[in-house]
Symmetry: C2
Subunit: 478 residues, 2 copies
């Protein structure tokens, strides 16, 4: 009847199959407007199915508008449905191309990746499970948009202990990674701010976010004392500034106290805000962490921190320390953009921190990163000697390296991948292409010592392979 | 010496304390520019601390710019540091006021909240712990910005099984809840689209997101066949449309097949896209789920789904099913906005779905929500009889209710809270205040049967308390 056929192989219920086939027949015009469907009893008998299935299907298709019922007359195909031939056709083309997976064998000196082999999986798993088991119902729901109260308290304590920041937990707002924090700030502050002063060079993802949120970007040069804030003397209201004062990315410089005071003065004069991106100040190998800019001017500085470096990027948990007068504005925008961080993750992290595991993990990783850095610098000196110098504060998970012999020529660093090593030029963090010839950033956090050694050797082979070519070119050009 | 004092009670290291006190003295002008600090050996002896602590502190403050060292002459306070008196002062004001917690005793018929008491905590905790234990390193990192491959496959299978959607897993993009999905879409499509047609009335948070992303909002009326798409006949390119075809929020209507075809035709003619917000189609009590709009036009419809209703809002996991030609655009914007969902959560959910737990949970909850709905409707009829009618498809976690006697007057529904019950008028989901007098939305997913009963009784008392007042007014006015 009506060419209906059931297939058990699809694993779909009879009602689903009957509805699907009737829909197709109506849409294809096989069953035209006004067509009277068989009474349910008759249809059921002919298809050898239960009458309930037929009744359910008719009701379903009435709810969807395919069928109408006229009392005492029966069930009919409704009007106004157009033919629809091949939209439901199976799609058999080639799959959309995915991202290329980097070859396993390439050693990538990408900056900012922590050592995830030492992530405390067992402990973290235990805290997660406990949080799921014990948490109150509200943690299964969206939770407080500003973040879990326990986590905000744990972070306030941590910030005093680790960075010397004195703030109330009410000033702390939890975000799903610092990136979401910047996205939130870009919207929350957009009523009064329209441009963003950024360090040149600097990390790319934050400036991309502000660009997409229609901010004008103003690059400010960086030297060995950090952002050259003197060039902001002409500042007027309406500007935000983004700095990495504790450990400039990628140059590694520390913003000097004189410049800190100056930029704060300017912010106070203009009513502008300073966003302090503190991505890795916990890992300083020579001394103690440099105090955050926030401690000098809690009312003008928004401190942005993350657990991506200290624990794992995959956690997607970061935090903002907000001046009191901004707490409401930022919280409200967070509510309106509906940006929530999974409350269970937050609670697990709160307990993990309270029980001292974060501090212990940082302490342990600091020794490891220090060793890796020293090893990398040693290998670089051994392979390149005086042709190379290392810059930046002894901190974090990256160093800036300058190759002296190559500053007059543009080495095609990206081609080193043919030698099995991936290196990253400072140019790739710059708005001014070609501004930093011979300068590279080496990340080492995620690499084993043997990988560091082999990677530097491959780089040496690549450079050795480059320079003859360069010399030849020079000859042919003369 | 220099008035330095150490306190063990703070739990801070001697280096930290020494640095902090020297910074304060320099910033306050007590130690002026050019002041020569005592040699490290002398300072250490006088303070009875290790010389290492003093050397470390001097080096630290040199790196921060407070001190300079002149070879053969000693260590001096640097120039250019201005006085900074009370910025570091402790902040002792009252805490910023937090959100008011709703009183425990109020029964809130808020719509869209699932029953979290039945969330499978034990199982979910187990899957989380296993994912943390077994996941490859990349899952501790950011992971694929488009989402975990396993989860995308599990969702593709689920969508075919549950909703009849045939798509490749490459078309699925994981988002941190549907809200983030809409935020992403608003930016990814902003090059070509500038206005958003929305149902009137509808849920508020999505339209807020698009408004903040500078879209113009165009309300389109809703009737018992869903969005009245005829009024879009004048559509030109540049418009997005947001619909809830399976179960309109809050009216509960199902978009008819005739209107489905019409809106798709319009989208094809103009090159516009339809965003299908499918927040709860899994829970349909009378028949099977209504097939998504996406199945009619996979190249014009963006299907937006969530696990907030089927599992828990606190998961913060949703998904987009994207037309093939948009996959790259949306993925790239996601990368540029740096929107990642915790990969460990994604993997745990993938396994949870693969092992059949999601389907079983939905099956179980469907029976429970069906029972709650029937109970609520029964209670409403019992209490209000013919003064009230219930509207909308038998699905999801809410019903729309219309009070006949009150459509000529504005009942101050928000005052029902004085009777211990919170109800929500359709007006609160509308851009046209006052357009829906007497219409309320009742959510029941999160309430126990006894709470539903008591809540409706309290509402009855409130209404009984209202109408005498209204009658008096009428008298006094005549």
């Amino acid at each position: 009847m009506l060419g209906i056929r059931f297939e058990s192989s699809q694993g779909l219920s009879l009602t689903r199959q009957l509805c699907a086939q009737l829909r197709r027949q109506i849409e294809s015009g096989q069953l035209p407007e006004g067509f009277r469907l068989p009474p349910t009893r008759k249809m059921a008998a002919e298809l050898s199915i239960s009458r309930n299935v037929v009744m359910e299907s008719y009701e379903q298709l009435m709810a969807e508008g395919y069928l109408i019922s006229r009392v005492g007359a029966g069930t009919f195909v409704a009007g106004g449905i157009k033919e629809n031939t091949d939209r439901r056709a199976a799609e058999n083309e080639k799959p959309v191309s995915g991202q290329d997976d980097a070859s396993e064998d390439v050693i990538d000196f990408i900056a900012g990746a922590p050592d995830l082999a030492l992530f405390p999986r067992k402990q973290w798993g235990k805290y997660l499970q406990q949080a799921v088991r014990d948490a109150e119902y509200t943690l299964l729901d969206y939770g407080d948009v500003r973040g879990d109260t326990e986590l905000r308290k744990a972070i306030a304590d941590y910030l005093f202990r680790m960075k010397g920041i004195q703030c109330r937990s009410e000033q702390i707002i939890i975000v799903s990674g610092s990136a979401e924090g910047f996205l939130l700030l870009s919207k929350a502050l957009s009523a009064a701010f329209h441009s963003l002063c950024i360090e040149e060079p600097t990390v790319d993802f934050i400036r991309d976010i502000f660009k997409h949120m229609n901010y004008r970007l103003v690059p400010v040069p960086v030297d060995r004392h950090g952002m050259n804030v003197e060039s902001l003397d002409q500042w007027e209201a309406g500007h935000l500034v983004l700095v990495t004062p504790s450990h400039q990315f990628p140059t590694g410089s520390v913003l000097s106290i004189q410049r800190r005071q100056r930029i704060i003065e300017m912010a106070e004069r203009t009513g502008n805000y300073i966003m302090e991106d503190d991505y890795d100040s916990e890992f300083r190998f020579k001394g103690i962490p440099v105090p955050p800019l926030q401690t000098l001017a809690p009312s003008r500085v928004i401190h942005v921190g993350t657990f991506s470096k200290t624990l794992s990027p995959g956690l997607r948990i970061g935090y903002l320390v907000i001046p009191k007068q901004l707490v409401e504005t930022v919280s409200e925008m967070k509510e309106q953009l509906h940006l929530h961080t999974p409350p269970i993750l937050q609670r697990a992290l709160a307990r993990f921190i309270q029980d001292g595991h974060l501090d212990r993990h940082i302490h342990r990783m600091k020794a490891i990163y220090k060793q890796k850095r020293a090893y990398l610098v040693g290998q670089l000196h051994e392979c390149f000697g005086k042709d190379m110098s290392v810059h930046g504060d002894e901190a974090g998970m990256h160093v800036q390296v300058e190759f002296a012999g190559s500053d007059s020529v543009q080495v095609p660093w990206e081609e080193a991948i043919r030698y099995g090593v991936k290196v990253h030029s400072v140019d790739s963090y710059s708005l001014l292409p070609g501004a930093y010839p011979g300068k590279l950033v080496f990340g080492y956090g995620h690499l084993r010592l043997d990988e560091i050694r082999v990677g530097i050797q491959r780089l040496k082979q690549f450079i050795a392979g480059q320079f003859p070519v360069i010399h030849e070119k020079k000859h042919s050009g003369s």
